[in-house]
Symmetry: D3
Subunit: 241 residues, 6 copies
């Protein structure tokens, strides 16, 4: 639709350290989608983990009102975080926890704030991909302050959307493509090719189970530029450190 081939992700760019007062942060752009991710370290864990000796990683997700074409009212007006936001922030939290060595982290929490400045599809996958860089930077601060021996991450994690639009499988849907998709998948994987999360839904009619492995393969290939951008962003921080 926008000149890309069906298996070509949008251009990705990650600016680490965008928010100077946060322990870690990253501004990720995928096409016109822009998500600002910040990591906050707290020296405590939620009640259900107290005394367990392991850490916690969680996330919050929100959209600025004019990130979208039609203004989205603020959630603060209602006291209700929208269902979609809650679903996304739970997903982001799970994905980052899956690659964190929570025993090595110790009784600490890292809270990842993912705020969408501009939304053109794929904000949840961008949030996962960007939050990984913010998390890495926050862990580096803990290492530099000798609170940790090394960055407690087993692998990188990134995510990509895949859809079936007009019968064709497409990688990394923009908003307009997503609105027309019959099947909509979000796939989160590690940089060594393992699955962290897979969510697929029939937007229109139910779909054949044969398409699932195909979708995973396409997502896997499309994630390569994301892992590369993460590595470059992290190198620019560690070079600076």
């Amino acid at each position: 639709m926008d000149g890309r081939s069906w298996d070509e992700p949008r251009k990705v760019d990650i600016v680490p350290g965008y928010q100077a007062f946060a322990e870690g942060s990253a501004l990720i752009e995928m096409g016109m989608t822009r998500v600002l991710c910040a990591a906050t370290v707290e020296e405590r864990v939620p009640p259900f983990l107290r005394g367990e000796g392991v850490g916690w990683v969680t996330a919050e997700y929100s959209m600025l009102p004019r990130s979208t074409n039609v203004r989205t009212p603020r959630e603060s007006g209602t006291g209700q975080v929208r269902g979609r936001s809650l679903e996304i922030q739970r997903l982001v939290g799970r994905c980052l926890r899956a690659v964190t060595d929570r025993s090595a982290l110790g009784e600490r929490t890292v809270l990842l704030d993912c705020d969408v400045l501009q939304a053109d599809g794929g904000t949840r996958t961008a949030a996962i991909t960007g939050a990984y860089v913010a998390l890495y930077q926050a862990f580096l601060v803990l290492v530099r302050n000798r609170l940790l021996n090394e960055v407690p991450l087993d692998s990188a994690v990134a995510a990509m959307s895949v859809g079936v639009v007009g019968g064709k499988t497409l990688l990394d849907l923009s908003y307009e493509e997503d609105a027309r998709a019959q099947v909509d998948f979000n796939v989160a994987m590690t940089d060594n090719g393992k699955l962290v999360e897979i969510q697929g839904a029939a937007e229109g009619a139910p779909f054949s189970r044969e398409t699932v492995p195909e979708i995973i393969s396409l997502a896997s290939v499309g994630m390569e530029p994301l892992f590369r951008a993460q590595r470059e962003a992290i190198q620019s921080i560690t070079g600076r450190a």
Copy 2:
């Protein structure tokens, strides 16, 4: 753990029409899990569908405080529907919409209330499976009242959980099994073998992509008794009608 083999679902039982004042209802039991599903028909659609000539199917999900081993406080105390509840009710709504012929339904909404009376794992899959029966019964009422020519459902839909526990793939996890699962999948399918929704998450370590088709196959076989129980429940209503 409870004497079942790894590919054997728990005993399912569906009582249609449990709530006499609802257009459709069903009490579903899967092992010790009990979910009460009710269907309400409203002669209107949400604002974004007005004038489109198609209907809507949506869901709400909640747990009674003592459905669980430790009491879960009511959501009404906080004005916040919990993230987990929102995630589940969005899932239930999507699954039922995927099998509904929304054009045939016309500008009507069916709201499916899924209230968990007792929770021993698999409440979201039980909710999907039971809500289908409540929805069917509500559609029958519309047909009997000559508001519809026939039940606008393309196929039945049911759902099943599959997990990897201690390295082994298990069907239909109870609460105790679920708490120990490394990988947790929920699969919703139609009775003609198509996928409606698939959600899989690494609870512990990331998992191999090869396990996904295997999990779908296991879920597919395990859903057979659910489709059978749905058919029997519906026959008992239509026989009665």
Copy 3:
């Protein structure tokens, strides 16, 4: 209206232990009204009782959305428990406290959840009557666990509605009768004939003070089957214990 004589209560049935994960529970049916009551024991008391050496008994009341003929929206959507629900749960709490030996209970709280599965009038009186059985069962658990020497209840408590409909005094109103009542009383009594609570309101015109003793007498006689059903339910538990 439904074939009963004016002084004849509806058929009552109490299933103790309906919710397997609660310390105590009972499903009570009075005619078409069905209320699920669960008792939760907490080893603490509200702030105003700390250090006083006495316990507390309190209640929460809610209706499932399709317990009623027209769907009642969930209270969780608004963050406001409805006035009627609050009024009822305060009533249930007071009635159960009045028969509990709070010194013998010690610094513990029992919270009674009363959830209406189906509402055909008299849900508050059914909640009081059923909650007594759930409370008894929870106390038995404390006795069995040697946390109490004996069940700290001075007497049984049950409740019954009485109304004046079309000039005639009627016992145990169904929803349809209640909607047409000019005067509406709820009376809670112990099984030794003492009053625990009496609430009477003119729905239409003010009423003569002479009717009050008459209403109390009618309620008192009508409560006998309730006390009997409570005793049978408790015997079936203690026989099991």
Copy 4:
């Protein structure tokens, strides 16, 4: 306790028209209890009455934070009207509706705001007694504006508390007396001796049913000064009009 005999109510004083901008208002003092009542007329009815040709009377009740000895936090902080406030405002609304000729009122609502400036027991009974004067004044405004032919009130309504303290029946309890009561009644009656509402609760042990007629009689006698103060307040308005 404060020098009164057991059957002697506290000194009552009613200032009509205290809030100059309201259609009707009254500041009622009973001993140290002070409640400000205001009546607002709206030319509409709640949805459930639209097109029925009858009016509605309702109430809101709140306490100023320092009406009490220990500061009571504002309800606006939590978005939750407290259970006690809701219970009282429902009671006030019912009592005033019971003496209003709602057909003569027509499709209008009168909202009675009862705000407690100082609380020394009996705020709900003072609210009912004072709200009657505010309601009367508001109806007079409607009559003067030729929206009504005459004041649509069948009789006056007032209310009085009666308690059993240390085995003795006492009229019109102050806060300190109320805190020590074993049985606590609130009785609302018309000035022609009919009952509008009766609510009695065992605070400690259940009580004998023989006490009920005795309590009603005592309340009835104690209400005479209230009806007199209402009549004087209304005469001072009508004289002014």
Copy 5:
């Protein structure tokens, strides 16, 4: 408009000790505006001041629903304190803090509740002026109880509105005047002529900076009767003590 000259404030009256159960209180009337102020002393400070050895003074502001010509709904219904109320209560708190010797106060908080019984313009300035008297009385209680050596107030504080209406500068605007003002100032000063707070806003067109000193002078002169009323109110308390 109401017969006053342009530099003449409305008649002020302060009744100290209006709420008998509060540590300090005052009912202030300025023309038809009536605000009830109460002071509550708490032996703790907000978290950000713990261990700092200094006290805190804060305020809450609210209007009774029928203080205004058209009823203002209660904030408790929405769980949202209105922006205007928050703005005013922050202003009142700042003004009283500015004249309090917070070191001499020690780790205590005084909370000033300002509740508007009747609103005819200038409720925020009346709240500041009346709250000073309530605060003084509460400090006297602490002195009498030997918790403080002397009243920890550096000077009195009062406030006055000034507006530009139809090109003319007017002191102490009533509601009707305020609604027509082009420029609206609120000035809070000490009784030794220093500024505590100044807020001026162009309601219509921007205004010349030369008007600012002129407005301050007018406010300063107009505040004299307020300081006099405060002194008299305080003398009547201290004489009583």
Copy 6:
């Protein structure tokens, strides 16, 4: 503190059109403070203006959680917009309304969203200054779409903070300077030297009225670079148009 002279504002930079999907937007940076402003045009006015033939301009203000050194929890979690946010958004709305020709605008609303990405003092003044550019751009869109003949703005508006720190008057306080200020002013002016809003508060001790004209003069001079940056930003848009 940061090398600036006392009368030197921080470096300002305005990027117009930062949010591609909004009618108008601007990212303003003042030193390390970064505020993202977006303008949304709605073809309706609030209820109190319906049928008046004039438009409305309003604002919302919020901070991203990690805009600050210590994370600020989201307001959406509580359903309460914080007092400080409400105060600021009301200020921003008033300032922009004061320079808008609301008759020329017609019955439309422009809502200005001001979201703080990074906070180092002066976020409210930056919000006013940046919102002006977003508003201008939105008006240009209305002109281009022939809904307006010309941009309905009478003049530019910008704002600047001035404080007294350690006895010295300082322009444009950073967070650290602001935290140590004894007196804190925010001044909003038009580019033709008129005042739109002035707010000054004694943070510590009351201050002399002679300082006010001095503070206004300093603010006036310091605002020149802001007006220049606004003009350049607007030229870059109109050149593009």
